[in-house]
Amino acid sequence: MAGQMRGKVTVDVKECKGCGLCVESCPPKCLELMPELNPYGAHPARYTGQDCTACGICFYCCPEPGAITVYRIKAKGKAFAAVQGGEHAAAL
């Protein structure tokens, strides 16, 4: 699992209430709570940037309808190589 990146997660910081269920639930432990607070006084979750397998568990554990969006890599090849090269960081 480690090192084999298959997806990524984005978290809407305005919707996240910082309950931490996604962090607890994530099988590869690739989510964490941000040290910063959002305007509602919560530490929103964020993707650490590696190890996401796009399993979607965090999405189903999250009580907010749209706080978490899970992506997976569509096609291996050039795009996949680009992601491996670290370009995904820009999208975050």
């Binding site: 910081v13 209430k17 910082g18 305007p39 009580p63 749209g66 969006t69 992506y71 569509k74 999208a91």
Partner: protein, 517 residues
Amino acid sequence: MEVESVIGVDGLEAKSEVTAEAQSKASLEVSKDGYEPIHSKSPVFFDLYQRKSELKHQTHYCPGCGHGVVHKLIAEALQELGLQDSTIFVSPVGCSVFAYYYFDVGNVQVAHGRAPASATAIKRSCPEKIVISYQGDGDLAAIGTAEIVHAANRGEKITVFFVNNGIYGMTGGQMAPTTLVGQKSTTSPWGRRPANEGFPLHMAELLATLEAPAYIERVALSDNKNIMKARRVIRKALEIQRDDAGFSFVEILSPCPTIWGKNPVEARRWVLEKMTPTFPLNVFRDRRPEVPTGDEPLQRTVGDVLEITPKTHLHNVSTTKRAYHFKNVTIKVAGFGGQGVLLLGQLLIEMGMREGLEVSWLPSYGPEMRSGSAHCHVCLSRERIGSPLVSRPDVLVAMNEFSLRKFASEVATGGLILYNGASVPADFSAPGAQVVGIPAAEIADKLGSTKAANIVMMGALLEETECLAPGTALSVLEDKVKKPDLLEIDRRALFAGRLFIDDNAHIGAVSQSDGFA
């Protein structure tokens, strides 16, 4: 965790815009960075919620609340099954009272505990719709116990999602019927003691003793595996309704971190460790109920049941020389109990039925019946009747002075008041209405029975308003009155009432805009 910095609102706006931009970019430009979104906000939810401006982005639920997860699973199932546009969501009273903020489906919010009753009405009116009753444990298992038991027992083809967190969450943590033994709440501060407060109520097991339900299962939002199981079960319950297979019920054990005084992760674990031993996760029912089908047609009119054939030809055959020139008449009949007030109303509607009119009769007994007045509301209409309640009657038949004074002010402008008395009391006036005094009791007494006073009034009513044909009145009386001597009195009373109007009062009738005098 050490707080390194706090993002200001402005900073967050900027950041979230970047996030949103990145998201839309990512979804639009799949080929460029190679990502496609596989789990995102369901279109069954509104984009922005109609809450206060700064809260439009998020639900009102506490962090870690189970409602959000259940909402999400229902939304996903509706989307996948293609049912969004045919779903009516019945929101309860409880924390999920605002479900209509979130679900972009048909929404109804109903009284506490009554969601299954309202859902029954909606489903029976719109059988092609998917009707979801979403309830908490205070709503379903306490105040709404009767409604859910009877809806399940009737096998209503609705889906009930029962979110059980063992406590009254919205009102601040009072003991619910589902509170665990020993669990502390504001109303069981020493923990629930079965000797005093009874045992937790097992709704799924209770409903599974009934014949009619098609599907009953209990799931828990306790860990990843059980949440994914809940997803399948919720979808299955909706599929059962889609396939018209019967009543489906899903009990969802759900965390309430705020009231339980636990953090969201602990609360979720508590569901598994403490709740599931009391509320075991199981499929309690999964079969299509065998409902014997009767030969009787489902929809019958009152006329069918009473074996009254509407004589529609009466519209064309004028039994009097007068034409039927009204759209609808509303009548209020009032008087002492025993004066035949309710019977007069019943006779009128039966006549209406025989003439093919839409009719309604609403008796209003009240404790007044014991020593005071009774009254009933009658509607006769050529169109469908919206409400049987008559607040502005066209005609008031007042069988005593008390009723005259009490109800005269309600009569519509240009209306008619028929009063049982030779003369109207001197200090009485009813502006805008025509008042006719008829000594009905005296007339009836002369004919042989004061009990026929109501028939005298009916004769006067028919003659003055011409709303129904006197011939119909006679045929109804012939069917209803069994004793020949009484029938003769009634027949003469009817005639006497008509004659009295013809002789004394048929002058200066107030015309109404619809031609009804």
